[in-house]
Symmetry: C2
Subunit: 426 residues, 2 copies
């Protein structure tokens, strides 16, 4: 057992007010939350007692939309129009990737996730065996999201991946998914809907990221992507929409009715000039919200603190209301909201029996002082400098700036540079 004591705890079970309690972990799970009496303390053997020293323990962040292996394209192509960026820079480089490259590039992303207090990624990419290897070797949790596109023949691969990765490893799960409406033909979308019925399973996909995407879908089908997906039964068992920037009232009503999560990616949405998602409207009607960074080619970092400030800041600007999208809702989205969007219902909050996916926030840094409101400090002032420790499934993978995921960071950095240099020459 590991004991976290002598600090503050935000459980995310009920608001963002810190409590003076202890948290003990046993194996992958949280074993105790509360104020132990002397007897209980004396009876328990700890492999480690972590003195929080007044600092904060909270549920780790979960990144509810990303393409981890795209680390190789960080700062490779920026400050250019979206279509040029995607078709001239990103797609041609991605086409050159192989499994070994994805392994190393994912490891680089995992380092960055851990440094921002994040223990799980909802990842949509390819070369899944190598991706999974990078995650399980590191001790990092991931939900793979189906990424099929093209025609109906690809539905088989989606089903076989679903069956292959579901239950394969305690750290790995799989959600049915496809890339987006605009990269799939109608028969494939129909087949995805049929798989959702067959397995009574949720489905996740890029949804209404750009105005162009929605306009062209309406031109083609006479309806928005969300209405189309709903008619095909794709959302019958819930799921998630990534981005959800350009949503009609009808779209939002479908999300609400079907319990579909909107995964907000504000960093990517500003960098690619996609727009500002109607988060306040979603919150008002009770749509569940998760938070993600999108991939490092379009963000360019995997920093949950920056996403949190962007989430509230962009809503305040869009609503012309400094009270919009308050800190408690942001912190919830970045932790429990994201976990639920990913189907990780046992990784959402700090409670006995839940997975020990935790982070320790250093309050003894200038940006966290004074302690007027710790939860608001995290959302409005927090940064990666405040992440002292990140624990995934009971294992400490990051502590005081150092990583414990297998290879040394220097090896991973060297591999990433080698890969991008090789690809540039090809």
């Amino acid at each position: 057992m590991i004991r976290f004591y002598n600090g503050k705890v935000i459980t995310m079970n009920n608001g963002i007010e810190p409590e003076d309690i202890e948290v003990w972990t046993d194996g992958a799970k949280i074993a105790f939350v509360g104020k132990p009496d002397e007897k209980k303390l004396n009876e328990t053997e700890f492999e480690r007692e972590y003195d929080l020293n007044g600092n904060l323990l909270m549920p780790s962040f979960k990144n509810a939309h990303t393409h981890s292996a795209m680390t190789f394209l960080r700062s490779y192509a920026d400050d250019m129009p979206l279509q040029d960026w995607l078709f001239k820079q990103i797609f041609p480089m991605e086409a050159k990737l192989n499994g070994e490259y994805v392994y190393w590039l994912t490891k680089l992303a995992i380092l960055e996730y851990l440094s921002t207090g994040c223990t799980a990624a909802f990842d949509m990419y390819f070369e899944l065996d190598d991706y999974v290897k990078a995650c399980t070797e590191s001790g990092f949790r991931s939900v793979l999201c189906g990424a099929v596109s093209g025609d109906k023949s690809n539905a088989e691969r989606l089903e076989s991946n679903y069956l292959k990765f579901t239950g394969k490893d305690p750290l790995i799960s799989y959600m049915l998914g496809f890339h987006a409406e605009y990269t799939c033909d109608f028969e494939l979308l129909k087949a995805v809907g049929e798989l959702a019925q067959k397995y009574k399973a949720p489905v996740a996909t890029h949804n209404s990221e750009t105005a162009k995407e929605v306009r062209e879908c309406v031109e083609k089908y006479g309806k928005t992507p969300t209405v189309l997906f709903n008619e095909l039964g794709i959302y019958n068992y819930g799921g998630a929409g990534f981005h959800c920037v350009h949503m009609s009232d009808e779209d939002l009503a479908i999300f609400k009715e079907k319990g579909v999560y909107a995964v907000h990616c504000p960093g990517s949405n500003v960098k690619l000039a996609s727009g500002i998602a109607p988060i306040v409207k979603m919150q008002d009607i009770g749509i569940n919200i998760g938070l993600g960074t999108d991939g490092p080619a379009s963000n360019n970092c995997l920093d949950m603190f920056r996403e949190m400030f962007l989430m509230t800041g962009l809503q305040k600007i869009a609503q012309n209301d400094a009270a919009a999208c308050p800190a408690d809702k942001v912190l919830y989205a970045a932790t429990a909201g994201s976990a639920k969007a990913m189907g990780l219902s046992d990784c959402d909050i700090i409670a006995e029996g839940k997975q020990a996916d935790l982070t320790v926030i250093d309050l003894n840094r200038p940006n966290m002082q004074p302690l007027n409101n710790i939860g608001k400090n995290i959302v409005y002032s927090g940064s990666k400098e405040n992440v002292k420790l990140t624990m995934c499934a009971g294992k400490i993978l990051y502590e005081n700036g150092g990583f414990a995921i297998g290879e040394k960071p220097e090896i991973i950095y060297a591999k990433a540079n080698e890969i991008i240099n090789t690809l540039k020459e090809q």
Copy 2:
């Protein structure tokens, strides 16, 4: 002399491409920039040789608009309408401050500036003697900005402060300034204009931060704040406008003609729902731009990395153009642009004879890898975790997370908490 070697240097003298050169400092200044030959190296005695180990040396950031001592109100009042925030929460608490409090609260801000690679603040506040003491004791550079408001009787104080603080200390300078149009009567504004002529000096002030401010000025004077200031000669010798969110074409033409700097504060502008400043338009017509955080009550942190991403991200959204406000212009604004806005023309770039105001950026962190484009990595991915060292006027004030400004951080944190708790009880 201190030698920085074995790394990369962005001088900001010509774009953001790093060079493989060395930088030597001697006392407060930069003594050498380039590739030394063996003879020169052998002839020179160094008190310290800093091995950059492949990391980056660049000019430090300068925070061109802030109210440092407002650290005590960080996360004290957020998520509320602007008028309630200002009149019910901020002003009543500020009225209780005294010089000793300002000293400690400024020290807290200085810790945070240093942790973000920033060596100078353009500060508008009160209790100046105590503010200056906090800066000079810490070795931190500051430009005091006149903060008068009310009626003409206060012009005398502005002049006497200008004379008192100008040339008082190598780390301290003073710029004529006033709080804002809406807090000064016409006679005071006229008197400020007369002081500008008398001393042939630039003037800085809050300008067109909110739509309300501009609307009410037009109702009162039949013209915008900028036109009014210009007619009174306030901008005859340049100066700076803080925020500049709601600017007419005529206002922008005046800024351009008079060489007035627009100091952009995107974090505060989103948090208070003030709007998005027309930065791209300003850049297109050649207006000089600096970057600031505003005070910690309205941001809530003093993080130049977050401001840089917001600067470019908000322009991309506002312009609906992913190519808008590219990284090189952002990095320039946050370093040389801000320095120039503050009148610190010897702190802008890395060149021989300039002040040794520098920062070392750790490239061996996951968010900086791979090294596709170091300058873009800083703007789009950078964070305080990457600041390895901050040097002001040749002195290392921050290194590897530790501070060298006199009091230990723990003392400063304790004082800040004591102060806010005392003030809450009063």
